[in-house]
């Protein structure tokens, strides 16, 4: 039996992806399940949910079961301006999940690139994100956006933090009809600018040139320049056809200040892969560095791979109490040497489905009648 054949689809994909990341020079990062709770307290704006499982260690320190891996990597990185670091990880994180009605253990496969990064580095991460989706499903799409575009626009219009949060919620939900109501009272030009920007969505080059028309601040143009340079590199590698530029993709977290993206595959109703540029987080840890990465929620693969194997074992041998055990084991060894999964029992265990059932008696092996 080929060892790889034994693996479930999702296990196999995980291994393929690890090989892909290794090929691009990423090293596996292994970490403890626990982290100082203080880390999350100080950086709570980075996390989607403030709910964290905590406990006291023997020395009284408050520890947490990791709700996130990126924070720990960003805190511990040895990267510098002249020496970048590339990691990938396969870790379980613990998060409150509205759908599960409580905490859930989520298996995450992710990748981080930290250092002084150029467009090529962003392109590399985008490329790997694309290949990650492709390994999971042939029909996949990547949604791209840039937080720098929004931050520059809203700063330019002097939108305060409270209103900004409300606007982001409306933009994320493409609730343009409600956004229009919320903006009523603003100067008509500003209102139109935000509404037009929120509606920017579609094929990359068309949407980019529509966005150019709205870029009245330098930061907006800079963001679009960056998107364009990454796009040109992706185009050269023919990865561009699965891209959508969509400025309704916005991040809650104040640490995502640049490029952000989400990956979808057909058959999974929500984003499977999320990622982006989080240099602001590194700056918060006192390092003037860039960082970009993404993570895949492997639990979501269960939407795709639901099929149950047709049988649990290939052969079930039911033997009599007084059967010749030596001969039985010899028979079983022969079958196993042929690569079959064999189970020996005196009576058929409940719920175990076998392709073939044999009876082993003094007379030897005899196939049981079907539907017996």
């Amino acid at each position: 039996m080929d060892l790889l054949d034994m693996l479930r689809r999702d296990e196999r994909i995980t291994l393929e992806l690890r090989a892909l990341y290794e090929k691009y020079g990423y090293r596996k990062y292994r970490m403890s399940k626990f982290e100082e709770y203080g880390l999350y307290l100080e950086n709570k704006n980075f996390l989607k949910s403030q709910q964290i499982i905590t406990f006291h260690d023997l020395d009284g320190r408050v520890l947490a079961l990791k709700p996130d891996v990126t924070l720990s990597i960003a805190k511990n990185t040895h990267a510098s301006a002249s020496s970048s670091e590339k990691f990938y990880y396969l870790e379980n994180v613990f998060r409150l999940d509205k759908r599960a009605g409580g905490y859930r253990e989520i298996s995450q496969l992710g990748l981080e690139y930290i250092g002084k990064l150029d467009a090529r580095a962003s392109w590399e991460v985008m490329c790997l994100a694309q290949q990650t989706l492709a390994a999971i499903h042939p029909r996949h799409r990547m949604q791209l956006s840039h937080m720098g575009f929004w931050i520059s626009l809203l700063n330019g219009l002097n939108v305060d933090a409270l209103l900004r949060q409300e606007l982001m919620d409306l933009i994320r939900g493409k609730r343009l009809h409600e956004l229009k109501t919320k903006l009523a009272g603003m100067a008509p030009a500003a209102e139109k600018l935000i509404l037009d920007a929120a509606a920017l969505s579609g094929e990359f080059t068309q949407t980019l040139s529509a966005a150019r028309q709205l870029a009245i601040y330098q930061g907006m143009s800079d963001a679009l320049d960056e998107l364009e340079s990454i796009y040109q590199l992706l185009e050269a590698k023919k990865w561009q056809q699965d891209l959508t530029l969509d400025f309704s993709l916005v991040s809650d977290s104040e640490y995502y200040g640049g490029l952000i993206f989400q990956g979808y595959v057909e058959g999974v109703p929500r984003a499977l892969l999320t990622g982006g540029y989080y240099g602001n987080l590194l700056k918060k840890f006192g390092r003037d560095l860039d960082a970009i990465g993404f993570a895949v929620d492997l639990n979501e693969l269960s939407f795709l791979f639901r099929s149950v194997p047709a049988s649990d074992v290939d052969v079930l041998i039911l033997y009599d109490q007084d059967a010749d055990l030596d001969a039985l084991l010899t028979q079983a060894d022969m079958l196993m040497a042929e690569g079959r999964k064999v189970r020996l029992e005196q009576s058929a265990p409940e719920g175990v489905r076998a392709e073939t059932v044999y009876h082993f008696t003094k007379k030897g092996l005899k196939e049981a009648e079907k539907n017996a």
Binding site: K174, G267, R270
Partner: protein, 206 residues
């Protein structure tokens, strides 16, 4: 094939008429038939008629690509979907109502009976008011009459039911109407038909 989740009942009928008026037909079959799944003659569309409060769940989980649902359901469930359009039909409001002679005691915890606990909690927390939620699934109007609650938070259309039960609207929380929603993944994979549908619906309701 585009799957469209619609609420069963009067709003669903209105929406089917609206959809067929812009070329997404199915109305004829609907009038002769009470099945829960209906296909358009060209098999490009499939309408799923589900319980109104379940529409958003069908869409969030991708069992339907798009759906039409009241804003009240969206506010209560807060599903992770795109809300593409206000269809301007099924208009009503979420409101606080109480007995005609009701006066609030500001020193007591307010007991609120409702089908919309999240909406009620959010509304009263914005007023800094302590409340106790009494979650009911129907005949909400009975609660203040029987003294089960001080007030109710519920959908009010014409106000007729309230008047018949000697209740009145005390304050309005938010206006409600039917919204077109879309699953996030479907919006990417079936973008052409969904944006086309949204544009046509927008022209029709304006």
């Amino acid at each position: 094939m585009l799957n469209i989740a619609l609420p069963k009942g009067r709003l669903g009928d209105q929406v089917l008429n609206l959809f067929s008026s812009i070329g997404f037909q199915c109305a004829e079959i609907y009038e002769n038939d009470r099945r829960l799944v209906l296909e358009s003659p060209d098999h490009q569309l499939r309408y799923l008629l589900v319980k109104p409060s379940d529409v958003a769940i069908y869409v969030e989980y991708g069992a339907a690509d798009v759906g039409v649902v009241g804003k009240d359901i969206l506010l209560e469930g807060n599903p992770d979907v795109y809300e593409l359009l206000d269809l301007q039909i099924g208009k009503c409001r979420l409101a606080v109502a109480g007995k005609e002679d009701y006066t609030e005691n500001p020193e007591a915890v307010l007991r609120v009976a409702t089908k919309f606990p999240n909406v009620a909690k959010k509304y009263y927390s914005s007023l800094n008011r302590d409340i106790e939620i009494i979650q009911l699934n129907g005949s909400i109007e009975l609660a203040p009459i029987l003294g089960l609650s001080d007030v109710i938070v519920d959908i009010v259309e014409s106000g007729k039911t309230l008047r018949e039960n000697h209740l009145k609207v005390l304050s309005e929380i938010v206006p409600v109407s039917a919204r077109l929603i879309a699953n996030r993944a479907s919006y990417l994979f079936k973008n052409e038909i969904i944006t086309d549908m949204t544009r046509k619906l927008q022209e029709a309701v304006e």
